[in-house]
């Protein structure tokens, strides 16, 4: 699912514009599997799958595979529609230097939810 994020984000000119001041690396953990995303001026310029010995990133979002899969459904069930919904239920942990995340929340929320578009298209076929 993570392999589609870069192409979906970079093709979305409105989303790239929303994130035009974002320059950071963040981590998504699906269970124990870590992936690093390097963002430059709102575009995702590098996706690096782990494992890592010394991963260098600003913030990380960690949840189990089951939680991510529910979150990435085209229409997630109540309680799985948003990162904060997961955090509130302690199904997701957001950790590290949260400043890039919180100061660009509308950008990152759409970046992280972008695989829903892919599952939506797959479901339509």
């Amino acid at each position: 699912m993570l392999d589609v994020i870069a192409s979906l984000v970079n093709a979305d000119t409105a989303l790239v514009r929303r994130g035009r001041f974002v320059n950071t690396t963040f981590l998504i953990a699906i269970g124990e599997a870590d992936t690093l995303f390097r963002v430059q001026d709102g575009r995702i310029v590098n996706v690096a799958p782990g494992p890592f010995i010394t991963p260098d990133y600003s913030f990380a979002l960690r949840a189990t595979r089951d939680v991510w899969e529910k979150f990435w459904q085209p229409l997630p069930p109540p309680g799985f529609t948003d990162v904060f919904a997961l955090v509130k239920q302690k199904l997701m942990r957001v950790e590290g230097d949260l400043h890039p995340f919180m100061s660009n929340l509308l950008y990152f929320k759409d970046v992280i939810a972008s695989p829903r578009q892919k599952t939506s298209k797959a479901g339509a076929r």
């Binding site: 109540p78 529609t81 948003d82 919904a85 955090v87 400043h99 919180m102 100061s103 929320k109």
Partner: protein
């Protein structure tokens, strides 16, 4: 489109509120039973414009919504620049009662969402004689903080963007795009620290869990409506109040935390049966 005015009128009301002179922006539309609408934390009375423009509501109800002090087009009290805004339960209850009195409303219906949905529980507990009925939208007796509220007001984070970002997921994923972004626009326009100050009531001071059992819906009928996608005031939280008070509750399909602004048409469909019951009281 031919130019036209909406049936809503807005005026500025000067009154003493909580012992200080205040200037409040008040909108209204319709005639009949007064229906006083209370907006969510960090937003303003514009949230109710869909309701105020719906003739099915305004043909029988005088719908009134005011911007709380510090919100929307209402001013903060003089001297605000040296204070930190923090909404407390006692002041919030007093504010609603004092505004209703200043407007000369006789036993109005009060309808509030989120913090407004919480304060109607306080009103039901403390002032059941003052209201004809109460409608709680997205009512829960308490919500624990689930993120660090200090992010909402600090100079190195855009306040409007972070407030909208925090609440964006509370809008139903099925909401029309226009309603979603109108709702978020209101959040983007909140003054610095206002949303955070409201959340002091929502997440700390306004906890009414220990008094819910004392609410007597025979003294003042209480109706509860909550969107299925609301993860802040959850369906579970609303149904708990319903169970403990006997108040009828409906979980609204396809709606989130801001039903009246994210999808007014759908929301009014849920509101009308409640208003019909209130007309028959």
């Amino acid at each position: 489109m031919s130019p036209h005015f909406e049936p809503i009128t807005g005026r500025y009301l000067h009154l003493d509120l909580l012992g200080k002179p205040h200037r409040l922006y008040v909108e209204e539309a319709g005639s009949g039973i007064p229906l006083l609408c209370l907006h969510t934390a960090g937003s303003d009375a514009r949230q109710y414009r869909g309701v105020m423009n719906d003739a099915r509501v305004t043909s029988n109800f005088r719908v009134i919504a005011f911007d709380m002090p510090w919100h929307g087009k209402s001013s903060p009290p003089a001297g605000w620049q040296d204070t930190e805004y923090e909404l407390g339960s006692r002041d919030y209850v007093r504010m609603v009662v004092e505004v209703a009195d200043a407007l000369g409303l006789e036993r109005p219906v009060a309808m509030g969402c989120s913090i407004g949905g919480r304060i109607v529980l306080h009103l039901a507990h403390e002032h059941p004689d003052r209201f004809r009925a109460l409608i709680g939208l997205e009512s829960a007796a308490h919500t624990e903080p689930y993120y660090d509220l200090s992010w909402l007001n600090r100079p190195d984070v855009h306040g409007g963007m972070v407030c909208a970002g925090v609440v964006s997921g509370l809008v139903a994923p099925t909401a029309p795009s226009e309603g979603r972004w109108e709702t978020l626009w209101h959040y983007m326009q909140s003054g610095p620290g206002v949303f955070k100050g409201d959340l002091h009531f929502y997440m700390i001071d306004g906890d009414i869990r220990h008094r819910v059992d004392e609410i007597d819906i025979k003294k003042c009928p209480l109706y509860l409506l909550t969107g299925e996608y609301d993860y802040s005031c959850t369906a579970e939280g609303t149904l708990d109040i319903a169970k403990r008070t006997g108040a009828p509750a409906t979980i609204m399909k396809g709606l989130g935390h801001f039903p009246m602004s994210e999808d007014p048409e759908k929301f009014v469909g849920y509101l009308l049966p409640v208003l019909d019951k209130i007309r028959g009281l």
